[in-house]
């Protein structure tokens, strides 16, 4: 397994200094970009992949578990935070149903009647988004704590944090997508 940390020349640990990572990436990208003298497309793509891996905490934690512990985790992924999961699912469905109804609507009066409902849907979306963001803040704290204990950390800890984080970012994307839809189609 190739080591993305080594490729970018950054320390092999859970928490990375974002600025340092970006700076290393910029420096290496300038060297191997195909437009540069002595550039190399394959090397550039490899660098690209490594940077994408390290930039995202989820991929980074998984990669770390793989490189350091040779552990990719078992396939039985821990289930997401179930109450939040339900909230996200419900509000996304409600939003989708509302958007569909508004899209199909054929009269100005019906759309006008729907406006206040739209405001409510948006508020609910906002509340759930805030809950997800709160959970993400907590995940960041957990990452910091793991990093403090590094390297006295079990691979499962890395993978569990990564998997919870992955759910959160995915929900965040879906929620903001739904909010865009509400806002822009109005």
């Amino acid at each position: 397994m190739k080591d993305c940390f080594a490729l970018l020349g950054v320390p092999q640990r859970p928490l990375l200094d974002e600025k340092g990572l970006k700076s290393a990436y910029f420096r290496l990208a300038a060297e191997c970009h195909p437009d540069a003298e002595g550039g190399d497309t394959d090397k550039f793509r490899e660098l690209q992949e490594a940077y994408q891996t390290l930039k995202d905490p989820v991929f980074r934690l998984r990669h770390l578990a793989g490189v350091v512990f040779d552990s990719l985790g078992d396939s039985s992924r821990p289930s997401p935070q179930s109450d939040l999961f339900l909230q996200v699912g419900q509000v996304l469905q409600a939003t989708k149903a509302f958007r569909l109804r508004r899209e199909k609507s054929q009269s100005a009066l019906a759309r006008a009647v729907m406006i206040s409902e739209g405001v409510k849907v948006r508020e609910e979306l906002g509340a759930v988004t805030e809950a997800v963001e709160q959970a993400l803040r907590e995940a960041r704290v957990a990452l910091g704590l793991l990093d403090k204990r590094w390297p006295r950390v079990a691979p499962e800890e890395l993978l569990t944090l990564a998997s919870g984080w992955r759910y959160l970012t995915r929900w965040q994307t879906e929620l903001s997508g739904a909010e865009f839809g509400l806002m822009l189609e109005a």
Binding site: S23, F26, A29, A36, Q106, S107, A112, V113
Partner: protein, 539 residues
């Protein structure tokens, strides 16, 4: 020498690096802007630019048709005697620019960087490259317009670190890109846009609103009071178009993982950004004064020149990390799009997928390549369809690897490999044009056939749905507005409601449509009052 070219919808420019500085060439009339107009006479050489402008039958805004099969009409909307491919028309403009550059620099010019709207898809990019080749250029690079503008902005700020947005509103296309600059690297984080949104659309809207010609509208928007437009009509008409850029700005920020407040400069380019209304709009969306340091007409061309300099070595210590604007993927069994390269991935890049045979007697695998952001395969652009042949084997034994490669131009190359034999198969992306001609005709034929079959039935069902929606809405509106509805209004609404119900029972399409129209009109003031009440926070 490599030249940089901005092939614009309205205006085109060409230039090259000179003693370390990007410069633009003037033509023999002394102008740096070449109007993107082409006149093709029945006999003799086609002409471009100011020479073409004298002819009412000149072709304009050909850039908006790049990627289509044919250009069919001229400036006046008249049909051309002979339809012609858009890239052939664009090539006439590029040839003229090439001659200007050769005259100005005193040397032959063969290699070029040409800019394209960031949001151009594969077919539009391929057509642009082809136009360059038809004009006798080796096209060294297709460069995104907002990225080019960022290069022009950032070249003398290489030491600084900052996050910037480029808002490029030109004659025919709109793009917005978010970039991070630092240590000589121009890193595009995200881009969004609309390849059919620009000054042309403002002109069309104004022409319709004020009953004037397109050319009068184009001039009038530069000086609305001089043109005698009423201020409120003018701004309402323009804003309805300008407003369409908002979603792209927000999405671009979102994709970059940034908030408006994180952006340190919003750079305006494109002729339309001269309008005070546009500047005001940008100020509102990004919450800051836009940066006007760049010449709205020239920044993109200067950026193309700088990229040319990067390629020929005359510009050093500058690296451009650009992205692909649209996701690329393949169609899966359920008719869904399976994304292999997500939008905003840094180019050049590569991605692959393994496929296996589903049946024993299968001899080939069909793979459809898609570009776009929609979930359903059919809603995206289909770039091509390939059939990969292989020797039949037991189910699951054949393994075919398909690899997508996006080059630095954002152009796609596809490679298929039979893992068992190691045979490589490369595919040329068949231009979308060839596919669409027949396909479009067939689609049209299909839809016409069905249209006549069940038109009345369908219309009655549709009108019924509208009635289902309106009648409860009327009740809710009357209840919510309470005393804000006059007795007279109530009576009128009630009368139309009754007519709708009657027409429905009688199953008369004509009467139902008329009654719904009447109800729409009668409830219009109620709808307006409801919207107002919500906005005022009264409901």
């Amino acid at each position: 020498m490599i030249v940089g070219i901005d092939l614009g919808t309205t205006n085109s420019l060409i230039g090259a690096m000179d003693a370390g500085f990007p410069v633009l060439f003037a033509d023999k009339d002394g102008g740096r802007l070449t109007p993107s107009l082409v006149f093709i006479p029945d006999e003799g050489e086609p002409v471009a630019g100011r020479q073409a402008a004298q002819h009412a039958e000149a072709i304009f805004s050909v850039k908006r048709q790049m990627g289509n099969a044919k250009v069919e009409s001229n400036r006046e909307g008249g049909l051309l005697k002979k339809a012609i491919a858009p890239e052939e028309v664009a090539a006439v403009i590029l040839k003229k620019l090439k001659a200007d550059a050769e005259r100005a620099s005193g040397q032959p010019v063969e290699r070029a960087v040409i800019t394209v709207p960031a949001y151009f898809n594969e077919a539009q990019r391929a057509a642009t490259k082809r136009a360059g080749e038809l004009a006798g250029f080796t096209v060294e690079r297709l460069l995104s317009e907002p990225t080019a503008a960022a290069l022009a902005y950032g070249l003398d700020r290489l030491g600084e670190k900052s996050k910037v947005a480029v808002y490029d509103f030109g004659g025919g296309t709109f793009d917005v890109s978010v970039l991070e600059l630092g240590e000589g690297v121009f890193h595009v984080l995200s881009t969004h846009g609309d390849t059919h949104l620009g000054g042309d659309d403002l002109d069309a809207a104004l022409a319709a609103k004020f009953g004037i010609s397109r050319a009068e509208a184009a001039d009038g928007k530069k000086d609305p009071s001089g043109a005698g437009f009423s201020e409120s009509d003018f701004s309402a008409t323009c804003l309805s178009i300008i407003e369409r850029t908002r979603g792209h700005c927000l999405r671009s920020l979102h994709d970059a993982g940034l908030k408006a407040g994180d952006i340190e400069e919003v750079i305006l380019v494109g002729g339309v950004t001269r309008m005070p209304l546009v500047r005001e709009f940008v100020r509102e969306v990004f919450g800051r004064e836009p940066n006007l340091s760049q010449h709205p007409d020239e920044a993109v061309a200067l950026g193309a020149v700088i990229q040319a300099g990067i390629l020929d070595g005359s510009v050093q210590n500058v690296t451009l990390l650009d992205v692909t604007p649209l996701s690329l993927g393949i169609e899966t069994f359920g008719g869904l799009m399976n994304v292999l390269i997500p939008r905003n991935t840094t180019i050049p890049c590569k991605a692959g997928e393994m496929f296996t045979n589903a049946a024993i007697h299968q001899e080939a695998m069909k793979i459809s390549i898609l570009q776009g952001e929609r979930e359903m395969a059919a809603d995206n652009w289909k770039l091509g369809e390939f059939s990969i042949p292989f020797t039949p084997a037991a189910r699951g034994l054949v393994r075919i690897g398909v690899q997508f490669e996006l080059d630095a131009n954002g152009l796609l190359h596809v490679l298929g490999r039979d893992v068992a034999t190691g045979d490589d198969i490369t595919f040329a992306i068949r231009s979308a044009v060839e596919v669409s001609d027949e396909a479009v005709e067939k689609m049209l034929a299909d839809s016409l056939e069905h249209a006549f079959e069940d038109m009345d039935d369908r219309q009655f069902v549709e009108a019924g749905l509208k009635a289902d929606e309106m009648l409860p809405a009327v009740d809710t509106a009357l209840q919510r507005l309470g005393s804000a509805v006059t007795g007279e209004e109530r009576e009128a609404v009630a009368a139309w409601v009754e007519k709708v119900t009657e027409a429905r029972e009688a199953r008369s399409l004509r009467r139902l449509k008329a009654a719904l129209g009447g109800l729409d009109a009668a409830t219009e003031p109620l709808a307006a009052r409801l919207v107002e009440a919500v906005m005022d926070g009264k409901l």
